[in-house]
Amino acid sequence: MKNRVITSIGTIIFSSVLVAGGVNITKDLESIIIKEDNKEIKIERIQDTKNRLTSSFTKTSRECPPYCIQPMNIGKVKTIGELELLKYMKDMQEEDSNMLLIDARTRTWYSEGSIPTAINLPFTMLKKNSKYLKQILKLLGAKEIDGEWNFDKVPTMIIFSNGVWDEQATQSIKRLVEMGCSEDKILYYRGGMQSWNILGLTVK
């Protein structure tokens, strides 16, 4: 069960006038405001219509391997896009939310910018030989019973990495499923940081 909290208790919706040509998220949604570390972060798109990316996300041709095109679906894990992710990010702000946004990239990538509220859990740390594996799984709420892991109490995890050409999220997802995590406890934001950046969405 994906713990989606759709009730909008504590949610204020306000309206104002928008000049045509503004860069909105959808025709009805300009931005969302979320809280991270007790600070409000406005997630919106860059308003300058002339803005272009200059970062490494402008690259079209990275060497494959390692940077190969990823499948749309990883097993039965649901793949989501930006609007679904934004909805989940909003839901995650609720008191009884049981969701986690996970940036599966190694630290050098993460430190160049990530999606607000995302937590960095590099895919390498979920590997069999990771000395932190048990600690991480326990923190996530998994229980070890007779050498098997039970993921019933683990929050729903939205996992992403750099985008369609990056295997880091895929590896994390496959590893979690391999360890026994139910596929419906995982969501895959395949567009990752490249899609997020190309849409000019707020980066932390």
């Binding site: 504590g10 919706i13 609720e94 190694t106 430190s111 932190y132």
Partner: protein, 304 residues
């Protein structure tokens, strides 16, 4: 003018912030990842700035020449001592990283042999630096440094390059991602060494020391430097470099390139007077400083 509804969703207080359980989970995970990163940083500390050693080996030789020709001897004696101490402490860091060395030796058995050999070579080299520091006119010491600095350069290059290539993570994907960077890391700092080597070779020619051989070496160094500077910008298949389109990187590379052109102009002059010599050393040092920014930028960038 089209007027549309602007909707912003603001999540407020009580119901707004993530549950405390979730906060604990997030801070717990952050702590573990930070801890893992710290260990990683510790493990790779040895490599940080390690490639600067190549440049230092050439700067020590350059400064030895300046000392023996009595060009600002006391200043360069001080610099030489600082460089030798820095070189020594970084090398000690490496040889004390037993666990990491063992990992490399497993994949490259000759590595241990190279380290042992280098320990001896460096010990003698260091002794001669000490001698030159006590007496700037000690010809035997300066000759030793001038005759052996290339061996030091080649050994240290082999040691650190091997370390970077063979000291790997146990994860295949991570290694594969890192490999692309490895070639860049091994090459990006080299211009600091090449420029210092070129200046040293020009000084040797100026002092009539093995003039013919050093002229040939100088031409070779200039050619390699030109090729590498271009490769860092535009890429080069032979050097396995992809080049860059990163604006910041291109800006910093342009600063380095300009300084290199200035150094080259002086180097190519038929004779070099005292003022030009001073300018040459100044530009050489400015290049090292400027190009270190390129190295740092490369380490933190994923534009490759």
């Amino acid at each position: 003018m089209l007027i549309i509804r602007k909707v912003a969703i603001l999540l407020l207080v009580a119901g707004l912030s993530s549950s405390s359980a979730n906060s604990n989970l997030m801070s717990g995970l952050t702590d573990i990842v930070d801890q893992a990163e710290e260990t990683k940083t510790e493990e790779t500390k040895v490599l940080n700035n390690a490639f600067k050693q190549r440049m230092i080996s050439q700067r020590m030789a350059r400064d030895t020449l300046l000392i023996s020709t009595e060009f600002k001897s006391s200043l360069y004696q001080k610099n030489l001592k600082e460089d030798a101490d820095a070189f020594n402490s970084k090398f000690e860091n490496l040889i004390n990283s037993k666990k990491e060395i063992e990992m490399v030796v497993k994949k490259l058995p000759i590595f241990q042999e190279k380290i042992d050999k280098f320990k001896k070579t460096w010990l003698q080299f260091h002794e001669n630096i000490e001698k030159l520091n006590k007496n700037g006119k000690d010809k035997e010491a300066s000759n030793y440094i001038l005759n052996n600095n290339i061996e030091i350069l080649e050994d240290i290059d082999f040691i650190f390059s091997s370390f970077l290539k063979f000291y790997q993570s146990s994860d295949k994907l991570e290694n594969s991602m890192t490999h692309i960077k490895t070639m860049l890391f091994t090459q990006v700092g080299k211009p600091r060494m090449y420029i210092t080597k070129a200046v040293k070779e020009r000084l040797l020619i100026k002092e009539n020391i093995n003039k013919k051989e050093n002229q040939k070496n100088l031409e070779d160094t200039i050619q390699k430097m030109d090729k590498l500077m271009k490769a860092l910008k535009d890429g080069d298949k032979e050097l396995e470099l992809h080049g860059t389109e990163d604006r910041k990187m291109l800006e910093e590379l342009a600063v380095s390139q300009k300084l290199w052109e200035e150094v080259k102009t002086i180097i190519n002059k038929k004779s070099i007077g005292k003022e030009e010599l001073e300018l040459l050393i100044k530009k050489n040092n400015e290049f090292i400083e400027a190009h270190t920014k390129v190295v740092k930028l490369t380490r933190s960038s994923n534009d490759n």
